[in-house]
């Protein structure tokens, strides 16, 4: 059986790639993709800990399912926002979207 650490290393690597994408990509859609990668890294963690922990309880799987739902909702809202921004500003480059500064 594959040891738990392998899953955790893989998950950390995936999370770091997602984080790197979020911090460095200029395209807003790519940032959303980075966020999806980080959420999936979390899901791998949850499932791995469930499988190597107390198998009788369903907590890990249930959390993972909730994360899916949240991620789906987030992407739906996020893409809607990006499309809306694109229509107004004609760009999806994050650096150019500085409306939060007054």
């Amino acid at each position: 059986m594959v040891p738990l650490s392998w899953y955790l290393i893989f998950s950390a690597a995936l999370f770091s790639i997602g984080l790197f994408g979020v911090l460095t990509r200029r395209n807003a859609i790519a940032i959303l993709l980075g966020v999806e990668l980080m959420l999936n890294a979390v899901n791998i963690n949850l499932v791995a800990f469930w499988r190597y922990g107390d198998v009788t309880s369903m907590a890990g799987q249930v959390f993972a399912v909730i994360v899916f739902a949240v991620a789906a909702a987030e992407v739906a809202v996020g893409l809607a926002l990006v499309i809306s921004v694109y229509r107004r500003r004609n760009t999806v480059i994050a650096d150019e979207l500085d409306m939060m500064k007054w």
Partner: protein
């Protein structure tokens, strides 16, 4: 009515008169003097009834009239006050009642009752006279009525009240109260004509000087109360108390408690009876109206001083065995003897008719005090009473003379003539016969004219006592003083009444109205006859014809009746010689003296009263004025106190502006107030660049912060 109740009532009418006059009768002069004279007449009647009843009591000394009530609670006991009339009290009551009544009656005439209002009289100044027009259209100047007539009778009433209270008191406290009431009244009446600066000053001087004595007296009373726990005469003067007091040493000048108390009380008398060295106020007291002078000099105030010492006699002589005087008695004897001769020398050179009498009073009081000092109790009391009669007579007589002279002054209109200066008089014998004869009787009594006058018997008794007890120095000095007394009295009579008038005013002098002459006649009666009650039993020829009632009566006041001195020719001849010699010398020296320049005795040192006023001015008045005006007012008050107070303003102002300039403005306002705003603004300004609005930079920053905080937590908590 019981005698005791009657005694309680004696002082009441005058004080009621005082209030009635002050509150209600000021409008009516007639009503005022009716109330005043009526009140003292009631007191007079009551006093006479008490006196007559006292005569009828066997052994009055052992069973006096007394009555006391509880007054102030003092813990378990009571401070009692009450009345006491023993033989001494009865004898004093007799002369006080008569002289006061006479003085009141006299005042009516003296203040020109019935005369018109003055043309330009003011309250506070003596009346100046009024102009009237008779039926022929001629204008005359006549005496005008005193502007403050009612006020005078009110004060005089209070004065009489004080004396009655003093005489009938059975304890030192109420006696002191009466004593102080008289002090107040003497102040009010000496300064009666307060418009005159001299009268104002004299009033203050009298008040201050007697107050010095009174403070010591109060100390004595307080000391006595703290030692014995009572102030009642009867309780203090029993044998056990006196022996205790006499045997307790106080450590002050080697005096026993009795001696120290006696000396302290005696200092009160020195003030009140104007003995040296507190004699200075009495001559100045002549500024008051003449009835007041008579009141002070005969009936009330100065007699009260001597009366107090006579009352305190058992205390004074506690521990005295008849041989060798105790220290306190020596002190008293010295003061009295010295005063007698000292004042007599001053009287020689005075030209004011009343001032001569004033110094004469001081001198005669010295005789009484000296007599007490050598233990001659009865002689002192005797002289006190005879002196009161003839000195009241002399003062009222001098007032009558002045009144007559003022009449002359009004007639001629020359107000530069002093109506009191004897060198402006002369020849008044014919103009004022009643005044002359009564004044002559008074003067002879004062001089001790042998056999017929009261003054002779009382003065002779003092001399006899001094001789009998071997106090030769006292005897010699008093004899010399007696000679001087006769001399200046005759000088006064000669200058005033005999010879020819020296001024136009004296020629127009007038006899005074009946209200003034009646008291003179009544008092001259006593000035002669009162001496007859005290003729020594062993006196040649006439001794024993009348029993020596006075000695028996008053002597019984003491627990042990003092022995009358054995008869001796030496004091008798001495007193006859000094009296007649002094009178003759006075007549022959002054028979032809016309003006002060011819008077050989106008020696500056005597004329200026041995410079005692100047001395006191230098010793006490000037330093006191300096201390108050320069030291206290200028240095202490204006310099130190005001300086401190004035320093508070600039001081606190300085502190305030320092706080403002160096703390409030820079620290509170600039640093904290403005500084906080500045700092916030600065921080905000400098934090602005990191607010880029770029989400990825925020994320990097928060990641960085997370790492830092996590690292710190890791190292701080786990490491």
């Amino acid at each position: 009515m019981t005698t005791e109740l009657l005694i309680w009532l004696i002082p009441l009418p005058p004080v009621l008169a005082f209030f009635l006059i002050v509150l209600f009768t000021n409008k009516s002069k007639a009503l005022s003097h009716t109330v005043g004279v009526g009140a003292v007449f009631l007191s007079f009647l009551a006093a006479m009834v008490v006196f007559v009843r006292a005569l009828g009591v066997e052994h009055l000394g052992e069973h006096p009239f007394e009555s006391a009530v509880n007054w102030l609670p003092t813990g378990n006991t009571w401070l009692k006050i009450g009345v006491l009339v023993d033989p001494l009290g009865a004898a004093v009551l007799f002369f006080v009642a008569i002289t006061i009544l006479m003085i009141f009656l006299y005042s009516v005439g003296y203040h020109n009752f019935g005369q018109p209002k003055g043309d330009h009289d003011h309250a506070g100044l003596p009346p100046h006279g009024a102009t009237v027009t008779d039926e022929h259209g001629h204008k005359h100047t006549v005496p005008s009525v005193e502007p403050m007539y009612s006020r005078f009778f009110a004060f005089l009433g209070l004065f009489a009240f004080g004396m009655y209270v003093l005489v009938i008191s059975d304890n030192l406290l109420t006696m002191f109260a009466g004593w102080e009431i008289m002090g107040l009244c003497s102040y009010l009446l000496i300064g009666f004509w307060y418009g005159k600066p001299s009268a104002r000053n004299a009033a203050i001087k009298a008040f201050m000087t007697t107050r010095i004595g009174d403070v010591f007296m109060l100390l004595g009373i307080a000391f006595l109360y703290s030692v014995t726990g009572t102030l009642s005469f009867r309780e203090i003067f029993n044998e056990t108390t006196l022996n205790t007091l006499a045997s307790v040493p106080t450590g002050v000048l080697g005096l026993s408690a009795a001696g120290l108390i006696a000396v302290l009380l005696f200092i009160g008398t020195i003030g009140k009876s104007a003995q040296w060295p507190l004699h200075v106020w009495l001559p100045d007291a002549m500024e008051g109206p003449t009835p007041v002078s008579a009141m002070i000099h005969a009936a009330t105030m100065v007699s009260a001083g001597v009366y107090a010492v006579i009352r305190m006699f058992p205390l004074l002589t506690a521990g005295y065995d008849g041989h060798g005087l105790t220290p306190e008695m020596t002190f008293v004897a010295f003061i009295g003897t010295f005063t007698a001769i000292f004042a007599a020398t001053i009287a020689l050179a005075q030209n004011d008719i009343k001032r001569v009498l004033a110094y004469s009073t001081i001198s005669q009081l010295g005789f009484m005090i000296a007599a007490l000092g050598i233990g001659a109790y009865v002689a002192a009391a005797f002289h006190l009473i005879t002196h009161a009669f003839f000195k009241a007579l002399l003062f009222l007589g001098s007032g009558s003379v002045i009144h007559g002279m003022e009449h002359g002054v009004l007639h001629t209109g020359n107000h530069n003539v002093d109506p009191q200066d004897m060198y402006n008089m002369g020849g008044l014998r014919k103009k004022m016969p009643i005044t002359f004869w009564t004044f002559l009787i008074g003067g002879f009594a004062l001089s001790g004219f042998p056999l017929v006058t009261a003054g002779f018997w009382s003065k002779d008794e003092i001399l006899a006592d001094a001789w009998y007890h071997n106090h030769y120095l006292v005897f010699g000095t008093l004899a010399l003083a007696a000679f001087l007394t006769a001399f200046y009295t005759m000088r006064q009579i000669t200058l005033t009444f005999l010879g020819e008038p020296r001024t136009e005013e004296a020629k127009h002098a007038h006899e005074t109205p009946w209200t003034m002459t009646t008291p003179l006649v009544v008092l001259s009666f006593f000035a002669i006859t009162y001496g007859w009650v005290g003729i020594p039993e062993k006196f040649p020829l006439i001794g024993g014809l009348l029993p020596n009632w006075f000695h028996d009566f008053v002597g019984h006041t003491l627990a042990e009746v003092p022995k009358a001195p054995e008869f001796s020719w030496i004091p008798l001849l001495t007193s006859i010689v000094v009296a007649l010699g002094g009178l003759a010398a006075g007549y022959f020296v002054y028979r032809n003296v016309k003006s002060p320049e011819e008077d050989k005795l106008q020696i500056p040192v005597l004329k200026n009263k041995w410079y005692f006023d100047e001395l006191y001015d230098f010793l006490f008045v000037k330093p006191a004025a300096w201390i108050s005006e320069v030291f206290v007012s200028k240095w202490m008050d204006q310099g130190l106190i005001d300086g401190i107070l004035h320093a508070f303003g600039p001081g606190t102002g300085g502190i305030g502006s320092a706080i403002r300039n160096y703390f409030d403005v820079p620290i509170i306002n600039r640093l904290i107030g403005d500084g906080s705003a500045d700092a916030t603004w600065w921080v905000g300004k400098n934090l602005r660049p990191i607010q880029t609005g770029r989400i990825q930079q925020y994320l990097i920053l928060s990641l960085f912060v997370l790492l830092v905080v996590g690292g710190l937590l890791y190292f701080l908590l786990l490491a």
